[in-house]
Amino acid sequence: MKNIKSPDYDICIVGSGAGASPVAYTLAKAGAKVLVLEKGPWLTEKNFFKDELAISIHDAYNPKLEDEQHVIEEEVQDSEGNKFWQGEKTSDSGWSWWNGSVVGGSSNFMSGYFHRLKPIDFRLKTEFGGINGANIADWPISYNELEPFYAIAEQKIGISGRVVEHPHQEPRSTDFPYPPIAELPMSSWIDKAATSIGYHTVPVARAILSKPAMGRRSCEYSGYCSSYGCSTGAKGSGRAALLNHAVATGNCTIKPNAKVYKIATDDKGEISGIHYYDAAGNKRSVTAKTYVVACQAVETSRLLLASKGKQFPNGLANNNGQVGKNLLFSGGGTGSGDFIYDQLTEKQVNELKVVGPFINRALQDWYQIDDDTFAGTNRNGQAKGGTIDFLFHQNPIARASGTQWGSFDLGTAEDNSAGEEQGSDKLLWGEELKQSIKHEFTSYKTLRFEVFNDWLPTDDCFVTLDDEVTDQWGDPVAKVRIGYHNHDLEVGTYLAEKAEKLLVALGAKNISSSVSGYPSTNLMAGGCRFGDDPKTSVLNKNCQAHEVDNLYVTDGSFMPTGGSVPYTFTIYANAFRVAEHIKQQWFGITEIIK
């Protein structure tokens, strides 16, 4: 009898973030032998500090761009008006596309605004019809199919929040498992102002524990959250919430500093193993019964495209040419308004100066636009809208930067010592510099908002492999074309104007907003969309490759449209859904072997 070597593991997962960790957790708990290959190091709460130099200035939780980078293709126009796509290496531009290359991935550094998608997001084409230039497709599953897994994710990740009646409240089977985290006085300011102009605020659910649970401490309100790694374990990263428990079962092995470069296939097109470089750069390989890819959208497409074989000359699961296509970001933009201390009461100023808790307020009144004045591509004022979230920024070095240039306003022209140079680029130092930075920090506070709306899938937004640029291991890097649809700007502008009206009602000054077609590189999805038709999608409704039975993609790559909220919560929920499917498949395989 021929001795066939059994696979090394039941499940091998490439990546360890929000798309990977629910699979590792679910399968390890079920008894399967799971291997997680993560490119970055395995850090813990002890490695996360409120250190602006590490997080912002030096991007220390990501690869150096000289070592690993991307090529970004933007549309440019020459002097004669001819448009063309021009690529630029991110090591030249300084525009990093990494979002946390460590165990747990970018979920370590998320803000954790956990809005669910709404039923309408699953059937965008049916509800609003097609839009010229956009490849809109309904999802092959409904909200009702995903809803139970949102509820599971809320429990396992530890979501805090409260449900309120709202015109666009999505159906829920359960209440939030944890009460809301503490709020700033600004939260009630926003509620009051919103009510005064007929808006309805939504308390934002957060992936932050409001009380200790599941071996994790609760939030300690250090004042720096957002993109900072969490040192208490309260933030529901895939590492803190799921992988630690997966490893504790004894069934899950995490290999950090393991850079996967190819999923190999045999002549029959079956996966023969995963190839990776270990920490020292040695080539290694491993086999499993089932393979899961979850490297975040761009890198997932890159890995599949790089995994060529006899049956897959254009990359794994890519004989229809769909891998890398219809990449998504988040449409929208940002805006802000200032609260000038000397125009407020002492009580108001003191309330503004509170640091630690969260604003946790959003507007979703226009999640579905029904407004004849909406001028975008639409049907009689009907369009998919989006979400507006409010926040304060903390980073002091970033705030100081720029105060050395003489354009500060000290209140009146008479007492403006830099008045002659105001608006110019006079470099300030000495007492002028002190005045400038002191004024910046102690005279006002800026309330910011972020607009999230659909980034429509188009033929001009996709991932390929670059022909020339390679990473430190010599493998081609991902080239990303970042075209956008004008509809995204029209919706974003509509929403930003609504947000600005709230800032007016709040009494803010210097109100402004900016909506652009630049991608939000921390919010990426698509590239391996799921669907029922193998000709037009990479994955089936279970996020299983149409062409390879034991290959799944569980990060945000599966999304044919992205919805109008940050992606992480939906990635978690969908990964729990797919994990359940993989578990049932694994149970079936195990039974057959028995």
């Binding site: 030096h58 150096k64 300084g94 250090s222 004042g223 720096y224 920490a279 000495g430 990473d471």
Partner: protein
Amino acid sequence: MTSFFDKNYQTPAWFAEKKVSRRKLLKSALGAASLAALPTFAVSVKHQQLLELKKRDPWLTLDATLSHLLPKSTASNDISAQGIHALEYLVQVMTVQPTKQDEKDFILKGVGWLNSYANSEYRQVFVALTFEEKELLLREVSHSNAGRNWLSTLIDYIFEAMLSPPAYGGNPQGVGWQWLEHQAGFPLPKKGQCYFELPARARAKNIKASSLNIETKV
């Protein structure tokens, strides 16, 4: 380039748009080869070491420049380059942090250019000038693109010294945060926990050790 006023220096378009990384800005100002490598130090520069360093260039001139950019005043609750340990922070940037060589070269070249200019105008080195002479000289320097970039770079480091965690050598006892009524987060990194001391990332085999992002100490 031989001075702040070299006619060959051109400000790139991206500088005007203020969308450029500091690294790119500095690269554009560089012309000649790197200066000799500076000696390296442990993360905490000891007080006695610093006193010795300040006696000679480049630190002598850099200390004087930083002190002019953020001078002491008689006002209470004031802040100064000395009070925020700006030089200590800059020494760390130049000798401990994995700062790009071209950025370090630019800072060092600026010291030479500044003293050359001081000599040409006053026949003295920069530190020997009066406050008024230094002010006039630096204002002239700031009218050149390269000079403005050099001074702005030092001011950026003043901000980092003022507002980064004390483990990096500046902002002793959080004086910068207190002056600006800024509440720092917690936990803060301690010695051995700075951004360049995080666990190492995987490396390809053909990457030479000399290019590794590791701390060097004497």
